[in-house]
Amino acid sequence: MTTAAESVLTVAVPILIVLGGIISPLAFRKGKGLAASASLFFLVALALNSWLLMGVQEGAALYYPNTQGIIFNAASAFIVEVTLVLGFLGSIYSYRYFEDEKILAPFYALYSFFIATLVLMAVSFNILIIYVAFEASTIAGGVLILFTKRRSATKAAVRFFVLSVIGAVTILVGILYQNSLTGTFMLDQSAFSGIANSDLVLLSALYAIGFSIKVGIFPFGLLWLPAAHSEAPTPVSAILSGVMVQIAAFAASRIIGVISPVSYELGLSLVALGALSVIVGAVLAAVEATYGSKYSRFHVSPVNIRGIKRIWAFSTSSEVGVFYMLIGLALMAPALSPLFFAGILLHFLNHGLAKALLFFDSGFVIETSRTADLSLLKGLGSKVGVNGLTYLIGGFSLSLIPGTLGYNTFLEFTRGHIGMEITAVIITAALFIFFTTLYSLRSIVAGRPRAKVEYIDKVHSRATLRIPGVVLAICIVALGIIVLLGANGIALEGYYHQFEEWFSVAARTISEPWVGVA
């Protein structure tokens, strides 16, 4: 049990970030000071979370007294850590991303609020707090999309708002239904014992559908995800794709894991939905890279392009399918659910880092070449520099190539307990992403425009836009090498087994908050 003072720490991270978003724009109106101040708050929150994470590792769990609505355990702490790392990198990236320094103040305020709502979603075991954070993230995320100031961004924001509200209403119906069944809003396994399985199945289905819209599962995801991710400013795209959709998937896995209905059919439906997302998203990413929005569709502007960010938006729609497949598998084989839940955390890490990297690097390419359209892009060649390599590492990680973090996802899906059909779906999607990465990089480095392009001004290059890609690439390769060597018994086996063991304990804390607590 923790003291009240310790319990306050559970909400200290989101409070710190929100404070950073309020204080920084008040203290500094624009420029370096504002970016440094907002980033500093992220850094302090990250340091605090890392300290709490170490405590959690030693068997502690922090919680809100009386209600236990917010529980800070291994899974929550891990998700918050990834969120804060990406949030901090996005904060650094934003400083030189916007040319108009006047909009930096409202941007940082909203950006910080957005990250705080996502953190709140990750640490909550109270469905109402998850719902409120879900709605707040919709508002903040939707407005952040508008910061590109394009007409098409307005359309993308409207799509995002409307679909998120539909998802939220479905979740609200689920919340009221849960309250009528259990009399509580807490996600506590004991509250659901003794309730008819048919009710639990219906409740889980409502939550699964409600969250699937925000997660970006097929078919809902295609309606808003490519538009919003590609129209948003790059740091926001990185957070939308690397964090927001994943936290929504994490919340869905927590809720369904707690309710744990016994239904093979529901599990199969989630696996089927996930598999469809995985394949359709990967194919559309390849179509976007080769033929453009005229054929891949789901575009919000009358001008057809081969959008760099649209490629990775379709890929996100594919990757989130993996989460629903894992949730479905956990329902189909409850005895193996800890393994599948560990897969959810590992995929969160891999996809979060790799996709944020790809968006950061795509943004760097757009800002350097002054075009978001691969058809108009003049081969950047040596100007891409180290970011060509980091782009490749991000793409390879999503293609599940050994030596990157993606190899872990490959191992998850090729172990004996998963059917051949599912393995085939994952590997097919990985092959499409592999092709897409190479093809798009070729266009960036050596592409020839399909129109006559002439630069009026000299090509811009901003060094700070390179940093997040490099940092993330180093993380992906370092962790990937540990996995590659450790999993195959070549070296670093001790580290790898520690890594595996920690994830298997953390996975159980997704739905059982007190597991591993001393």
């Binding site: 508008l146 307005t154 129109a451």
Partner: protein, 106 residues
């Protein structure tokens, strides 16, 4: 707009407080305040962006007493970005920066 924003923030804070205090009635009240203010803001912001007032430039012509109309339909048909209240970036409307690049489609 500012009043609605203030209500929205109060609503969100209230929702969190009511959830922690476990007061369902209060929570629904705050959810209602938040959603009403949110929809008010959305409608107020997006309707002008989607259906801007079109001004007939010709109507500004003062019977030959002044010069020819110096504004065109396109120059007045320009609502701001909803919620941010800044002008649209028309340079990037076609996904490339026209101030930096000249593109001649072949």
């Amino acid at each position: 707009m500012l009043i609605a924003l203030a209500f929205m923030i109060i609503g969100i804070a209230g929702c969190i407080a009511a959830s922690i205090a476990f007061n369902f009635i209060l929570l629904l009240a705050f959810v209602e305040i938040t959603s009403v203010s949110m929809f008010f803001i959305l409608l107020l912001s997006f309707i002008p962006a989607y259906f801007p007032d079109r001004i007939k430039a010709g109507s500004l012509f003062y019977c030959g007493l002044a010069k020819e109309p110096y504004v065109s339909d396109s120059s007045v048909y320009r609502p701001n970005v909803p919620l941010l209240n800044v002008p649209y970036d028309t340079n990037w409307d076609e996904y490339y920066d026209k101030s930096t690049m000249k593109v001649e489609k072949t």
